[in-house]
């Protein structure tokens, strides 16, 4: 029985890939196990690197949900600037976007038929 997935022009055998991934992970583990496992668990060595600053206590660190995405929002600020501008909160605008984009997709899919 063939476990190869076929999509007409593409093909992939996930089980074979998975078997070899596990095999190479074992080789990786052998390399890993040959390394030096020691470190000093209860010293400053395990503190996070904060450019020499002292880590504040967990209770004093307040991370807002939005902060988790800071890196994405900052990196893609040009994209978000456009998105937030069209994110008006007015349901009529969203329906217009929905209809507009939907009609373009329909035109592309069946327009020439």
């Amino acid at each position: 029985m063939s476990f190869t997935l076929l999509s007409g022009s593409g093909f992939w055998n996930p089980l074979l890939w998975l078997a070899l991934l596990v095999f190479f992970a074992l080789i990786g583990y052998i390399i890993y196990s040959r390394g030096n496992p020691s470190y000093k668990p209860n010293t400053d060595q395990v503190m996070p690197f904060l450019s020499g600053n002292v880590e504040p206590s967990k209770e004093k660190v307040q991370v807002k949900a939005g902060d988790i995405y800071w890196g994405f929002v900052e990196a893609l600020k040009g994209y978000y600037k456009v998105l937030t501008a069209i994110h008006t909160g007015d349901m009529r605008d969203y329906i217009l976007w929905y209809l507009g984009v939907g009609s373009i997709i329909l035109f592309l899919l069946v327009g020439g038929a």
């Binding site: 593409g10 093909f11 390394g35 996070p48 690197f49 994405f72």
Partner: protein, 321 residues
């Protein structure tokens, strides 16, 4: 599967680790020479791996230990599986018929994803910012990368890398489509340093700014595995570019009538030379010549400029095929 296939499936990726480290050594040496330095010996990456294995492997207090330790192994294993689908000169890919170009696209992503997850699991703000940047970069360069693959699928009506490698693309397309292929090559060359986290797109690691980012908390054997997976991925990426754009064999160029071992030996060396040239062009020369972009600049470059180049290439292929 034949025993021969199983042997190739194990031997090729392991050979890839060795070649990846050799290419890394050549890259460092040539980069040093380009900046008027002597540079390390070519075998330095091997020593680096040995040195890292001797160093302590620190697991930070805030890290999710199992995830933090598992990701380097996953990155290493996934980068090795990448080599299973790439033909090596005149030799077919070890898993020919079991995976295509789309699988390669996903496997390239998997290694970056493992590094990003490892970064998030580190429990360090530097690593977290680095991981976020890596994911933004991935979102930015995936589109042009996918466009290149679609372009080849349009030409060959197949995603099989062996089918693509069997006939050089330049010999089967019209001049207009050939220009489109050239644009796809430019787009892929631009994506390469980002895919390999090299300058000017090493924003996720930016040593001087976020102290190696995702890798800030990694050390010892964990860092050694990331180092090895990086070396393999560098070799694999250059090999993919050779297979897609320059699959010409030396025998066909010089009209040689080699057979047996001589054919495989000559073509293997020819393939390695082509990979080296692409590696030096796309990685060494670029990383030595440019400074680092900011993450928003890099995103804009891929989303706007490189995307436009790739889409224009795709349109020309569509019209010209």
């Amino acid at each position: 599967m034949t025993p021969e296939t199983i042997f190739y499936s194990v031997a090729f990726p392991l050979l890839g680790v060795f070649l990846g480290l050799v290419y890394k050594g050549i890259d460092r040496r040539i980069s040093a020479r380009l900046t008027s330095r002597i540079g390390p010996p070519i075998r330095q990456p091997f020593w680096d791996v040995g040195k890292l294995l001797l160093k302590e492997t620190i697991v930070p207090k805030n890290a999710i230990a199992w995830l933090f330790n598992a990701m380097p192994i996953l990155a290493f294993a996934s980068s090795l599986t990448l080599l299973l689908y790439i033909p090596f000169g005149v030799l077919k890919a070890p898993l020919e018929g079991y995976g295509d170009l789309v699988v390669i696209l996903y496997l390239l992503t998997l290694q970056s994803l493992a590094m990003a997850i490892g970064g998030f699991a580190s429990g360090s703000p530097f690593s977290s910012v680095g991981a976020q940047r890596e994911m933004v970069l991935m979102m930015s360069y995936e589109m042009p990368l996918a466009t290149v693959i679609v372009g080849f699928a349009l030409i060959y009506r197949s995603f099989s890398l062996t089918t693509i490698a069997s006939t050089p693309v330049w010999s089967i397309v019209s001049p207009l489509a050939a220009f489109g292929v050239l644009l796809l090559f430019v787009a892929l060359l631009t994506v390469t340093p980002a895919e390999l986290a090299k300058l000017p797109f090493d924003i996720a690691e930016a040593e001087t700014e976020i102290a190696e980012g995702m890798l800030a908390e990694y050390s010892g054997r964990n860092l050694a595995l990331f180092y090895l997976s990086d070396a393999v991925r560098g070799f694999a990426m250059a090999a993919i570019e050779v297979v897609l754009f320059f699959p010409f064999t030396l025998s066909s160029i010089l009209g040689l009538s080699l057979t047996g071992f001589a054919l495989y030996a000559v073509e293997a060396l020819w393939f390695l030379l082509k990979v080296l040239i692409i590696y030096l062009l796309a990685v060494t020369l670029v990383r030595t010549s440019f400074g680092r972009f900011k993450i928003d600049q890099a995103s804009r470059i891929f989303w706007v400029h490189v995307n436009l180049v790739a889409l224009l290439g795709l349109a020309l292929i569509w019209v010209g095929v």
